[in-house]
């Protein structure tokens, strides 16, 4: 167990060394969420025109923007750390080391969290200063939202990393595109009731839908829907299991195909 933790720590250290030595990487972590927040913040100003009735809706929108960034950037943080290995042609070194797939995945999860904190903490403070939106006012609900979204992002990150292992760096565009599939169906900016009836069951199969519905309940109605969070957690555990299983299957397939040898070329 301690050996295993030591290897997870070693990999986390490897990504930390990389991050701290590269200011463009650090800036990029903050840059996109900041731009996103500013654009949506100004848009909500225009929508609401300071009408008191629309303030809650504006809060819902800004909250959705921030939580969507947690989901999207959580997955990017996971997959980008993996892609760093592909780009530096280091995959074979790692696969030949005692590092086990679960330990590799765990270190990518830790790094995804670190990147999220580095990227989102300044943005949340900026939202408070510029638009008066205090995401920390959500209290414990924020922890539940954050955790569920991060779990989903890891599950998607595992599948995307497996696809890159199996199909080579040509599959890296999945890192940016896959999460966009969830954007319309997981009802980030609108309630599930807006969707066509036939699409609603699909939406309820996705853990983020529960989080965004829960967020609207908290911001608009002032209710914490623990039931939604528990359902999201159950779905997330299934998704993480499925994601890791897919990652392992794709890695095995890459070993059959000989793809690990040419990884990064």
């Amino acid at each position: 167990m301690s050996d295993s933790l030591g290897r997870v720590a070693a990999m986390t250290l490897r990504y930390w060394y990389l991050l701290r030595a590269s200011w463009p990487r650090l800036i990029e972590l903050v840059y996109w969420p900041t731009m996103n927040m500013i654009v949506w913040g100004l848009l909500t100003f225009w929508f609401t025109d300071n009408k008191p009735t629309a303030v809650a809706t504006a809060g819902g929108l800004l909250g959705a923007v921030m939580l969507w960034d947690v989901l999207f950037r959580g997955q990017l943080g996971f997959t980008f750390s993996f892609l760093e290995e592909v780009w530096s042609r280091n995959v074979a070194n790692l696969m030949m080391s005692p590092l086990q797939p679960a330990e590799f995945a765990a270190s990518l999860m830790v790094m995804s969290l670190i990147r999220l904190v580095v990227g989102m903490a300044p943005v949340s403070l900026l939202a408070l200063v510029l638009f008066g939106f205090n995401v920390y006012g959500l209290g414990f609900a924020l922890v539940a939202f954050f955790a569920n979204l991060v779990f989903t992002s890891w599950a998607v990150g595992l599948v995307v990393s497996g696809l890159i292992l199996r199909n080579g760096s040509g599959a890296q565009s999945f890192a940016w595109s896959v999460m966009m599939l969830l954007l319309p169906v997981s009802c980030v900016y609108y309630p599930v009731s807006i969707l066509p009836v036939w699409l609603r069951p699909v939406a309820w199969m996705l853990p983020p839908t529960y989080v965004f519905e829960g967020m609207r309940a908290a911001l608009i109605d002032g209710l914490f829907r623990a039931d939604l969070m528990l359902e999201a957690l159950a779905l997330n555990l299934a998704c993480l299991g499925l994601g890791f299983g897919t990652f392992m299957l794709l890695m095995q397939s890459a070993r059959h195909k000989g793809a690990l040898l040419t990884m990064g070329e």
Binding site: R14, A21, N90, M96, R255, G258
Partner: protein
């Protein structure tokens, strides 16, 4: 009919068994314990197919040798990248894997490392099957290849630190200090690995490969990109390491002088198959050549001409005949 002609005609047999094969299984020399061959087509018999097996009584299989390849085959659709390769590397020995481009060396090494799963046959390293139980043995082996880079934006010190932790090296600081001194890396320790010269990268890569004092070491062109002085110095280091730790080394190289100098045994591959096996001295003698370079060229020419002939006759790739 010469040796190569017979090889291509029969598909597998070479008429003359190098005497060196006997030395492979010399218990006193390599301290390897053996048991009865588990079944036909064992690693031992695979090695022995270089010779007329009907004249030789069944002999015990060296199943506990650090590296055992048994009927190893990798097929991609109809193309055999590696075709029925069997050999062992006894403890404390250095084996050179030679062959032209596309001979199957890299795929063979990748299967030994467990990066590629064989279509057929098996690789056992330190007693563990590399397709299914590689995690049990990876801590005791290591590898180096100029074609597998280390993270270029990390400094040399950071890279050695990370890999040392991955391998669970005890007293890592002292081990890194020792290797830095031995490989003359002091000046570049705090430089980004990607900014080093090719020769410096090779030295860093070798230092990484020795971090965990591996019992089995796989080296892919270990002195590529080094100037002659530094290459000779590196060979000395490798020999010293092997002698000090009784390490088993498998290396691929295009430098025949290096192979003659470092290797106890040589396996020559062509088109995915083993076409020669023996000690450098034995091969040089049996081909009546002045050096291993000439042996290699002769084998390459023979293999090429016979495979072309077969291609014309049958319209098939020679290695697909099976």
């Amino acid at each position: 009919m010469n040796r190569m002609e017979k090889f291509w005609r029969d598909g597998s047999e070479i008429a003359v068994r190098p005497a060196a094969v006997d030395e492979w299984f010399d218990l006193s020399r390599h301290d390897v314990s053996y048991h009865e061959a588990p079944h036909q087509g064992s690693a031992y018999q695979g090695a022995m197919r270089q010779g007329p097996t009907h004249r030789d009584p069944p002999r015990p299989a060296p199943a506990t040798a650090p590296i055992v390849l048994e009927n190893l085959t990798k097929r991609y659709r109809s193309y055999f990248a590696v075709d029925d390769v069997s050999f062992i590397v006894p403890k404390g020995a250095t084996l050179g894997l030679l062959g032209g481009n596309g001979a199957g060396k890299t795929t063979t090494i990748a299967m030994i490392m467990g990066l590629v799963i064989p279509t057929h046959g098996s690789v056992r390293v330190l007693g563990h099957d590399m397709a299914s139980a590689r995690h049990k043995v990876l801590k005791r082996m290591n590898f180096q290849s100029p074609y597998v880079a280390m993270p270029s934006q990390l400094t040399v010190r950071e890279n050695l630190d990370v890999f040392g932790r991955l391998y669970g090296v005890l007293d890592l600081k002292a081990r890194i200090g020792h290797l830095v001194e031995e490989f003359g890396l002091g000046e570049v320790l705090n430089r980004e690995t990607g900014r080093l010269s090719a020769g410096q990268k090779t030295r860093v890569s070798l230092a990484k490969a020795l971090l965990n004092k591996p019992e089995v070491l796989l080296l892919d062109e270990p002195t590529a990109s080094l100037d002659p002085d530094r290459a000779e110095w590196m060979r000395d280091r490798l020999q010293a390491y092997r002698n000090q730790h009784q390490a088993t080394i498998l290396l691929s190289s295009h430098n025949m002088v290096e192979v003659e100098r470092l290797c106890d045994y040589v396996v020559i591959m062509s088109r995915g198959r083993v076409v020669e096996i023996g000690t450098p001295r034995e091969l040089i003698r049996s081909y009546d050549c002045g050096g291993l370079q000439e042996v290699f060229l002769q084998i390459s020419r023979d293999a090429e001409s016979w495979s072309e002939k077969l291609d014309r006759q049958t319209g098939l790739h020679a290695t697909s005949l099976k």
